[in-house]
Subunit: 293 residues, 4 copies
């Protein structure tokens, strides 16, 4: 139900991470091993920080494995921080505005998972988006609504806290609609200077999420692997699914946990605890009254 | 800013109307003479009634003039009632979910024109959509919101009255936001048994709209034209822009006017007068309160 | 490496065969069980005989499982004879001109498999296409070249014999280039009045191919299955892979075999034996000479 | 019938040239003033030299004016040398493999114009491509064949001479087929270190082509224009159509002329004179003989 990855470290040609790894994310788009779906062929997106103001994004409705332009961009763009997402659509259309990463100013946002019975909750959740942010929603995914809620609830000041409020709001809204197990997934966020990731499910096990181990550890464990020997001090990967079976190279991020990666590779973990919002009253037109008028 | 056409009459191969006319709508997609834009190359759509339940729709993000599949479908589909729309996007993305005709059950809906400053009104207008209809909005156009408002306000019982309520609601909402001249355009609606069209602008001249004249008149005026001599008793076309310069073959639909075309070709005109809706009070979450909690 | 199917019998809504079967070809596009690849997501095509002159074709670069237009067409087109192909590209680009079925006049052509080392043989094979047919090649697949060779070698008079000559020519050309095991696959051909299918590999087992059993047999074996009870006398399916595990409902077409299905459902089998062509001499410009001039 | 442009000079964000000019090439895709067609909406391509080995290319089948990814790339890619092409298809399909620039190793190639009656000449011209280069032809345009002929005839040693041989070969082939006025257009070529452009038509006026004037001249003529004041010493533009009406800023390249632009901005002009190739004899299979066998 989607796979994503983030690179944060020394500037590298994007293709080194996307294509030149044994089980990289483009390979995962066709042959995922750990995903809810083995095929993630319903479009994809790449967001990268580099030249120019803010991050660039490339969105495509084609499967990542066959997109000729992706190979071009990956070969000719170098970046110290980028996120790639491959999508397995569950209901919403395959269109560029439904492709991750979503962007707002300097911020990028990706998600693997879903809001359960989203069609029942969509209206209430969209109403909770800040009115002047409402028109920014261009597609029809749950993720874009989650992102705009998080922006409404303070993402740009404190990403983890804002996501805790956002998930809390979704869970409270779901309860009102008798929707169970509303939130499932992993989230990736960046502003170009730090990288945040969350693993959380309201019920049951959350989608998988991994971070690369300390570079020193990785190099010591795999002295024979020239690719790993090229890793620098502060390089860090966050992935839905490890790129290869390298014992000791990946650490699983625990359930209900948020991690923060700083430039230089330092990574902090903390518990992720959704928080609930209060209610208020507003006025709006009533369409059914109109019919009786 | 878009062109559309509707055919209602004897079953004909769609290509006869789309491609085998001197200045048909596919030609208009590249060389419009009367449109606000000469090029309508930002996707298109065809909706037709024929075999199967309800209308079929074909949406494409390519320009109509170059879409190979459209030529195939037009050559192999026969229909007594179909609508074609070519789009010149003004701000919203080129994606299939933004292509007209929009559909709900047996209903098709097309629009040429715009809701002014739609981004300022979008939230309030979407809130006025019936809650259980809200999740049906998949794209980001003003037209899809207008259609879902009209469905909310009774389109399926009385299309013209519902559009009068819808335009009234949009104008009232615009007034609250200090948006001037909010509604501009022509609308086409069908349920497969009748065809309705509206020409209306809050201010200034509305986009052009024409109906073909009585078939007898057309034939008498152009005895030399074999295409026109093939027209049957009850054939009727509604178009943004006439297909060719044939004196007497087209009648302009007046400003602020709605027309109804019945099977058999009978066409009635009536004035189109927007009506306003009352207000009501509802309860929702307040995102700004959450930040202060 | 592709899956295809053909329906020939009573006119049916295309969706009944494509979507309303437990393991139909659209499902196979995502989850093939018997294919060389489990995913066939690199575009697809539908060719059908019905209204209009000759067959219609719909080609799309999107995966079949997610293409909204395919669902529309399948629900609104009825046909007594249609072929559907889902593609797993092996090297050549994902573009509509590389999607099967290929068409020439009334003829449709599909292929599952490959010409080995096609890049080494492409020039010689294209030279063998009738000169006035050469410009019809619009894409870059091996299959389109095979089809145009078969047209050159008499497809329209005797499809099986023409394919025997075509495969013979490919095998002889391959031998000159030291290419081994040049031909692998199954082929489907129709002119709208009959349906032909071939299963053949130069070396080793050929790709799988099945025909539905006699309708009477199928009904007797599965009295509890309402779908199968609706089958008519002369209905026949040819498929790369059976739609469901129904004992006795499918018969495997043997290796190196061609089958002919006539209207009414009668099916004949015969051995498929490639035949070799003689050489001739022609004159052409020599580019290397030009450089020395 | 297409528009193209090339920038060669100081590294600039691509968007500065593509989007931030009054009548830049993206605007020309919708509103060309001097082209044979006013609309160039049948796909486009960008080729740029920058990071990574060789040039990167981005090809899209959407109109340039509406392609969201192009805006992203243009804003985030910086390059000292890039070519952009917007296409008005005349017969061949709108697909990425038909989009310019075409690439071979370090070389990029664009064309505005056509080979007349290309379908009559295509086979003979493709036969003249070096056999080991033949399989590189992936699309169906005349331009890709011209490019591969030029590569066959020495493009990488002497681009102008190779194009003279190529056009000569096309004209000779056309004469054999009674095709008149075979070559029309302008060509752009680069290897990343120099830029070549040709303007030539066998008969009648050739498509328009312009070079920007000396930077000093441009600055002196337009002291009030801040954009022009930012131009550096060695910046040079070659364009199908000037970006704006700036007296003295553009110089027309004469008919039947080739120009070479070196790093640093120096530009040389020379006459462009097609040269003819001799004939040779080769052996191939004869398909018609096969039918008589």
């Amino acid at each position: 139900m989607c796979r994503w990855m983030a690179w944060f470290g020394q500037p590298v040609p994007v293709e080194d991470v996307l294509f030149k790894t044994p089980h990289g994310i483009v390979d995962q788009s066709l042959h995922s091993r750990m995903g809810a779906e083995t095929t993630n062929g319903d479009g994809f997106g790449l967001g990268w920080y580099g030249r120019g103001d803010g991050p660039g994004v490339y969105h495509s409705v084609e499967p990542a494995w066959g997109d000729a332009n992706l190979r071009e961009l990956a070969a000719h763009i170098e970046s110290p921080l980028f996120l790639m997402h491959v999508r397995a659509a569950i209901g919403s259309p395959v269109q560029q505005t439904n492709c991750h990463p979503f962007r707002h100013g300097n911020w990028l946002f990706v998600h693997n998972g879903y809001v359960n019975d989203f069609h029942l909750l969509r209206r209430d959740l969209m109403l909770a988006i800040a009115p002047d942010q409402f028109a920014a929603v261009q597609g029809s995914t749950d993720t874009e609504v989650v992102f705009n809620l998080a922006l409404t609830l303070g993402l740009q000041s404190d990403p983890i806290a804002a996501l805790e409020r956002t998930i809390g709001l979704i869970e409270a809204t779901a309860a009102e609609h008798d929707v169970t197990a509303p939130v499932q997934g992993t989230f990736g966020v960046s502003d170009g200077t730090s990288l945040w990731a969350v693993r959380y499910a309201t019920e049951g096990p959350a989608r998988s999420l991994f971070a690369s181990a300390d570079v020193d550890t990785v190099k010591r464990l795999h002295p024979e692997n020239p690719r790993l020997q090229r890793l620098g001090e502060g390089d860090r990967l966050i992935v839905s699914e490890p790129f290869a079976d390298l014992p000791g190279a990946w650490q699983e991020i625990p359930e209900a946990t948020a991690v923060t990666v700083r430039r230089g590779g330092a990574m902090e973990e903390r518990p992720f605890v959704p928080r609930v919002q209060p209610h208020v009253t507003v006025t709006q037109r009533d369409p059914s009254a109109a019919l009786n008028a």
